[in-house]
Amino acid sequence: MSDESRDTPFHSPFSSMAVARISDADEQTDGVDITVPTDAINEATAYVTEYFQAGRSTNSRQLNAAVILILGELGTGKTHLAGQLVRTAAELSSGSVQSVHIEANGENLLRTYQQMLDNLGLDRVRARVSDFYADIVARQLDTGLSGGVVDSLRNREVTPREVVSGHSLMESALLREVRKELQVVTQQKTFVEALALLLRPGFDDAVWSWLHGAEPAPILVERGITEQILTTIDLFEAMGVLALLFGGRERRFLLVIDEFDQIFSLARRVDDGVMTGFQKMLEVFTKAEACLVLCGQPNFLNWLGPANRNRITATVQLTGLTVDQARQFIELAQDAEFGEARLEPFTPDAVAYMVALTNGNTRQFIRMCHRLFQEHHNQVLAGDDQLITDAMVRGAARRQFGVLGSEEIDAAIREALTVGGRNYRHQHLLGSSRDTMVDFWLTFDDRQLGCALFVAGSLVSEADTAALGRRISAVQAAVPDVQCVVVVNGTLGPEQSDALRDIPRTEVTVYSARTFIDDLGALVRIAHSQLPPVAVTDQFSTMNQRMDELNRRQAAAYNLIGQLADHVDRAADQADQRLDALRREISGLRGVVRGGDDDAPTDPAQVLPAQLRRLFTEAIRALDEVTQVEPMLNQALAPDAPPKIITTVQGRVSNSDYREAIAIATLLRHVITAFRDRMVVWFTSNGLDQSTDAPPTNAESQLEDVCRSYDAVVEFLPPLDLEALVRFTRPLVDGPTPDTGRQSRHRRLLELVEALGPNVRQAARRALLTGG
């Protein structure tokens, strides 16, 4: 590698998160936006194009309204495709079309509807109602005498209100006409009344607030708007009203709702009105000649009844990338970043292996590309120019999918079996040949036979399953009627999964830290139930067996109680820390209120807008929550700290993985703080803290530089590598801690730190546009 290339900041062409974000038609995308034109993407784009062209030409095949379903598993690129469709719509319509891209909120349909409303905005909603008014006023004035005013109205150069007032037109009669036209949009009188009130002064706040689901203000109640928009049916109706308002009358309107299936998964549990409401909404969208794109997971289709399915124009299924598409993606991404469409440092074999390991899941594939590209870069820096190998791919997969080492997976299985009160032996030979060695052999006091537990790595090829199949067959030959359980510590390909399902008396689970104890427990219970029971000898021996089992369960229960108590203690520690932090913040605020006349240092980040400040604060907090260094040392150095805590801390700090993870975390913290400080400088030097009229023209390019520098530095400090901390930061006393809290903190950290650059860029751009 040349000195020059060593000096150039490293930029990966592959996103570390590979999570598409909801974007407006006019919003720039962050970073490189690569689209491999798969059949599904081409198909969806063709439908949207056809819909928009139908609006322009009466000769084309009419697709006046469209309901398009985009279905795919998580990470297959639904959001990316949705964003692409919004941009396609904007291009086809030169930006004149209203298109809205929102993400459904699974917890609350109201939030989803509010997003749609906010995305459209009061001004656009009012302007749309005003369009009705303008057309009506223009029609009345169009008697052949007043072309100028009529043209101005039709070109929206003057508002209908100005014309009505300036010409003393019959406002009451004209507004009556508006109401009549709005009744075509919705037969709900309340919506008609509310929308018509937007044309009059003094009602904006009340109407907008009511449309957002608030209780109607008294001035609305007096006009007959007495109910909140609250029920599922109301909300679907309201969404339909907006579609009719913006679509219809030869206008084109595109609404993309991401993760729409979440609405169904929630609403099906709590509200039977969802089907009726959804069906009504589809009818209204068709009537409005609007285009509705709903993204969701494949099972979404099963939830729709036949009546709803009949209204769907097209269903686009997003499947995993093929090997060819994956190669094309890598070439396009490198072309976009480096100006050269190359596959290297990946090899065709490595790409095929990566596709197999990720099942072609776009997000997983891109994340793996990111890891491997970076590893290769490090390797090159160390003087090794070798291309990406299968071993590197396996290593990346292990880290990416949380695959454990052999000792760790054994420990996880032991833990799960202990919690379940099971008898087991590790590495047990069931026959004479070596093939009959099982990783764990479980026995049951009330069963004649036991259960053989096998641990396997990733199963992504025929050879992988064949080897495992041979082991299982050998065991089943040695011990007829034995039950088998396979724990896959890695990836299980769909074909391999089918192949394993065909092996008799065998259950399979893929290790997942969050659910493993439950998953394995359930499979062992199934195996137990399938085994033949022992013959009853006498009552005492049966009772003894039961007592033994109860004792084991009681011991496991005590163990769990101990873990819970530790968890509670730890939570209390964290609460204390947060309280201290709050106290410090309040103290800081007092200083601000007092005009900074005390000695408390003023936080320079205070000049940043709240949204920007929050991004930094949350990222740093998430980092602290994962590292847990401070509480650990506080506990260890406390006067009454038990010796076991000291030895545990010693164990941690002597572990190189732990030390490396802590070093990454510390550096990350410094990088985030420095990034924040640079943003403070950017903000103040561009006068954005002074609410100046126009920031300097190079402010945006400065912003871009700062954000890119952050992204470039963080490339080498991936929070994914902090996984070691997640394993290590268990309570200092014995026993495993529930993984959910740590895992969710880690996930949150990934989201906050890796997306910090794009998020800061977006928030700062907004601040730039709004003058701070």
């Binding site: 005498l145 072309g147 043209d151 003393s168 037109l169 002064p201 009340a206």
Partner: protein, 314 residues
């Protein structure tokens, strides 16, 4: 040698030179009484009112609510002012010693801020009390009581009750209310009425069904008189233009309009206000432009087009 006749705009009525869209106010300017025209069915509605007054024992034992409806710009306010003028006249004739203040609170509300019915009524009520205070028609003790009442929200009914208590038998009161669009407001006033109080209300948004509801809900108190002004009838435009020009002949010189041109522009207008605005603006434009403005000159469509920025015909 006689000086040349003054050049006038025949569509700006005397006393309203500063605002030609103001409705006629004969109770302030007696000459306005002769300027009313039988357009928009307003004459029939006025006749109904005079009949109503004729059938009334003056002064009445109960208060009265008169509601005038019709679309924006049809002449509701002008009709109300004419009715008020007639009523005040009849009251004075019936009881020469009677004092009858005309309290106009039509413009008291901020048009840019929408208020609840209760708040609107309170503001109008406070304005009425202030007006009475200014005219010294209420004694200091009564004013103190009214001021105390005004401190609480929703005090319209109690304020009218107090005003009614302090009005003597030779006192009446005519109130012109702000425009209303809600039946609840009219019902509220109807219920607040006291003897010898006449309330005039107007609305461009209430229809016959709404007024029927007001009547139903107030039949225990008083039955409002509903006057409904219609839209321009065929011939109304020509009647209006010609009458204004004829009535102005003695006031000064001005160009005329040909019948053909009047009929051409007539199709454009649905309300008397729209006609008044554009025709007054057209004559004013011609008057201010320095172009010939004599009795023998003509105002034609070109003047209308320029004055009202109609632009090119489509």
């Amino acid at each position: 040698m006689t000086s040349p006749a003054k050049r006038i705009n025949p569509f700006i009525v005397p006393h309203f030179e500063d605002g030609y869209m103001r409705p006629l106010r004969p109770f302030e300017h007696a000459s306005h009484a002769d300027l009313y025209l039988a357009v928009d069915d307003s004459q029939q509605q006025f006749d109904r009112f005079t009949q109503y007054v004729r059938n009334m024992r003056l002064p009445p034992e109960a208060g009265r609510l008169i509601v005038v409806t019709g679309d924006t710009g049809c002449g509701k306010s002008a009709l109300i002012n004419r009715c008020v003028h007639h009523l005040a006249d009849r009251l004075r004739t019936a009881s020469p010693a009677m004092s009858c203040p005309i309290i106009d609170v039509t413009s008291v509300l901020d048009t840019e801020q929408e208020l609840t019915v209760s708040d609107r009524m309170d503001i109008a009520c406070d304005e009425i009390v202030d007006d009475l205070r200014g005219r010294r028609l209420i004694g200091p003790d009564d004013l103190t009581e009214l001021d105390m009442i005004a401190r609480s929200k929703g005090h319209t009914n109690r304020t009218f009750k107090a005003i009614g208590r302090c009005m003597t038998a030779d006192q009446a009161m005519i109130v012109l209310l702000p425009r209303s669009e809600l039946t609840a407001e009219l019902i509220g006033y109807a219920k607040a009425l006291r003897p010898r109080i006449f309330i005039f209300a107007e609305s461009a948004f209430l229809d016959d069904q709404d007024i029927d509801q007001v009547v139903r809900d107030t039949e225990m108190w008083t039955t409002p008189l509903h006057l409904r002004v219609g839209q321009l009838n065929p011939g109304d435009v020509r009647l209006f233009v010609q009458k204004r020009m004829t009535d102005s002949t003695q006031r000064g010189q001005f160009p005329r309009m040909r019948d053909g041109d009047i009929d051409t522009i007539a199709s454009r207008y649905r309300s008397i206000a729209h006609l008044q605005r554009e025709i007054a603006r057209t004559f004013q434009y011609r008057l201010d432009s320095g172009l010939s403005y004599r009795d023998e000159d003509w105002i034609d469509l070109a003047d209308f087009r320029v004055a009202n920025r109609w632009g090119a015909t489509s």
